[in-house]
Symmetry: C2
Subunit: 462 residues, 2 copies
């Protein structure tokens, strides 16, 4: 065992306790009432980077939440790794569905995590995965084995669309110059099936508002004669899907890259058990676009999902009201080569056009992200694959994920840097849901794997 791995082994408990401290900070970027906590989390990261041995670490202002930047430059002759992660988390509501408070982490065993998992908002996404990099960095520094220069860019707005990251990258191109971007914000197929994400879906996210009458009305006095914005919103949403569950927005599929039969056959070799999938989320049956498998539906095909809907009386009991307004949050996952801005515009035009004359409709774009695919023949991919093979004992599977990490496209466009998505979470970790958790196995496996990536990446660039 290398010195680095010994150091990691000896410091496991402290590495865990530090993460738990970070998880106790409710750094919810979407909700302004947590603004101070978001900043506190940034300060925490800065402190830990300095303590781990960074030459410098700064909390840098943006128009929104700050970005933490840190670096350790060893030598101009070594390749530079830019580690990206985020210290902000998703909102934790509905709080009442959590078995333990979302910002009071507890360790519990689960069927998939017999060694225990950390239950807390952000445990997997992304505090746990991001913090692995800081601890791996500390271990390499402590054992004098840091094989690459390293830069850290840890942001606080990933969960709200990374609105200020683009400007930050533009403004700090030189500072952020790197040979590869390394990110752990994705997952592996299973703890015994390591994988590396090579494809990501993009995202278009909008909020819609339908207004009927200018005030809430009594449904007895007015019902039948006036447009009910909730009924109309339901009808408009329903019309966005065709019978075969494809998306009914003109032009939506125009740029979708269609995979060859060979590519689909290769994908289909990844382990996937439909019954397990259904059981894991309590589904009687799956659903989705006709002509595609469940795995394809979450990777190579775009989607349209309502993420939230509200309007009228939602309290206890019965209230006979016709609401003035109804709202929904709608997101579309995009695949190569769909462009989020174009799709958002198509949605806006279409959704406005299908509204009956009796109502008015407002569509507000939230944020978007480009879809991305990473080549598997690059030195960085090979370094990641070798590192995982060393720690997991088997070759990782290249995998196309359903989620979106819009920053991958940003790094490519602005910095000209490719990204390796070496994540360690599981689909079942319930990120964005109540009872989010992250396996101790996965946390430690990540810390152990990262130094090996540096080693192999330096060798391949040497």
């Amino acid at each position: 065992m290398s010195n680095t791995q010994v150091f990691i082994e000896e410091n496991k408990d402290r590495f865990l306790n530090e993460l738990l401290d970070l998880l106790r900070i409710p750094s919810v970027s979407a909700d302004s009432k947590f603004k101070d906590d978001v900043r506190k989390a940034a300060g925490f990261i800065q402190d830990k980077l300095l303590a781990a041995g960074a030459d410098k670490a700064e909390v840098m202002e943006t128009s929104g939440h700050p970005i933490v930047y840190g670096e350790k430059m060893v030598s101009d002759n070594l390749p530079t790794v830019l580690v990206y992660g985020h210290y902000d988390v998703q909102p934790a509501d509905p709080y009442d569905l959590w078995d333990s408070p979302p910002f009071e982490p507890v360790i519990k065993e689960t069927e998939l995590h017999p060694q225990g998992a950390i239950f807390a908002r952000g445990s997997c996404d992304d505090k746990g995965q991001m913090y692995m990099h800081i601890k791996a960095f500390e271990a390499m520094m402590a054992t004098d084995s840091l094989a690459c220069n390293v830069k850290f860019i840890i942001e606080g707005e990933e969960e709200v669309g990374s609105d200020n990251l683009g400007v930050f990258l533009e403004d700090n191109k030189e500072m952020l110059k790197a040979d590869i971007v390394l990110v752990s914000d994705t997952g592996i197929i299973a703890n015994d099936v390591p994988s590396i994400t090579v494809g990501l879906r993009g995202l278009s996210y909008v909020e819609v508002e339908v207004t009927g009458p200018n005030r809430d009305l009594h449904s007895g006095l007015y019902g039948g004669a006036v447009p009910n914005p909730i009924n109309i919103l339901a009808e408009m949403i329903a019309s966005l899907k065709n019978e075969d569950q494809s998306i009914n927005i003109p032009g939506f599929y125009d740029d979708v890259v269609i995979l060859t039969e060979e590519e689909r056959a290769a994908m289909a070799k990844a382990p996937f058990d439909l019954q397990d999938f259904k059981d894991s989320i309590g589904l009687r049956d799956v659903e989705g676009e006709e002509g595609f498998s469940s795995m394809e539906r979450t990777s190579i095909r775009p989607t349209l999902d309502v993420n939230g809907i509200w309007g009228g009386y939602t309290g206890e009991g019965a209230k006979t009201v016709i609401a003035s307004k109804a709202y929904a949050k709608i997101s579309m996952r995009l695949v190569p080569n769909q462009d989020p801005d174009k799709i958002t515009k198509l949605f806006q035009e279409h959704f406005t056009s299908i509204a009956p004359d009796s109502v008015s409709v407002k569509v507000t774009p939230h944020h978007g992200g480009q879809p991305a695919v990473t080549p598997t023949d690059s030195p960085a991919y090979k370094a990641a694959a070798q590192a995982m093979k060393d720690t997991f004992g088997k070759d990782p599977v290249p995998f196309r994920g359903g989620g979106s990490i819009p920053i991958v496209a940003l790094f490519e466009q602005i910095l000209g840097s490719k990204t390796v998505l070496m994540g360690f979470g599981l689909d079942s970790d319930a990120i964005h849901s109540p009872n989010e958790h992250y396996g101790l196995f996965n946390y430690y496996k990540g810390i152990e794997t990262i130094p090996l990536f540096y080693k192999y990446f330096a060798e391949m660039n040497g």
Copy 2:
């Protein structure tokens, strides 16, 4: 001017201030957190009945909120009027849409109420209208001119379906025996167009719950491959209406009474200005079942309206979640001879049958009410019409309203008593909405008209 009318004139300010005190009690029956306030309002009514001169007044227990019963028996030779009203009110949310707090009444002038209107939850529905009867009773008692025996039954569960009223009527048939039930919980067409409601729609009200996955999921990881309960609920709701805006539930129209062309022509003579209607609620266009006028759509035709919908993330910002559950509150207004229980059952069966296999659906009935039509050739109707003619200076128009007062059918079925719906509100009073109000003109006009009803009703029964 009669002594009674002089007494009313001299006590106007006190009559108003007492109502304001009643309106300050947030007696929201639908929300258990207001339980004590509901009881406080009941005690208030009891006190005022006794102070006005009732022989007795009691707060009588039910399995839910109590019923206040009071009476003044003058002579066995006189007819008996049973006054029904309710002291409970609708929930006031959304509070932020009120210009002044819902339980802190203020008097403000409006275009339709140049003499001022009382802005408060319950000002019109039904505290203001119910309290007119207690003040008219006080005026008749004070001037020794009570022309009928009178019984008061003022309940606290009208806004949640009068669940315990039926049992109460059954248990107290003898005590409640009356020649007519008099209710002010409806409106007039305008302050210069008096009217009496002769038809009411019934009500079936259900809450639906659609469950997809057993927990909230990340829309990136799962989107496209799993049933989204919000999308599915929207599709199910959309399917409940046909292209022509008729309701798509098998059997729904089977029992609907179809009016003759003559009846429809008579109805069409009531004053109605479509542009005014649209302007009053800020609508660009009306909507409704093809082949019927706006007035018909709110009176002789049944409806289906979603009164509330919720699911997923509804907070600030964007959250990429697929919710486990989506909910809606749906009500159907019914016309003669539709039966609420039968319609609720048809809805349940149909809604469950259209759910895709991938989700489970729960339909919970809330409460219902029978539709009703009152004859215009009865002594009670004539007494009400004459009383209004005296105070308004013109004959009232018989009018079929869109709302539901389920108790009308209860009184008929259990006590064998007919009901006269002599209400004084305006459609624009925003009952069940933010900024509910009730005109001072209407409040005083009601107090003045009620003693005349007693006078004429006694004469016609003499």
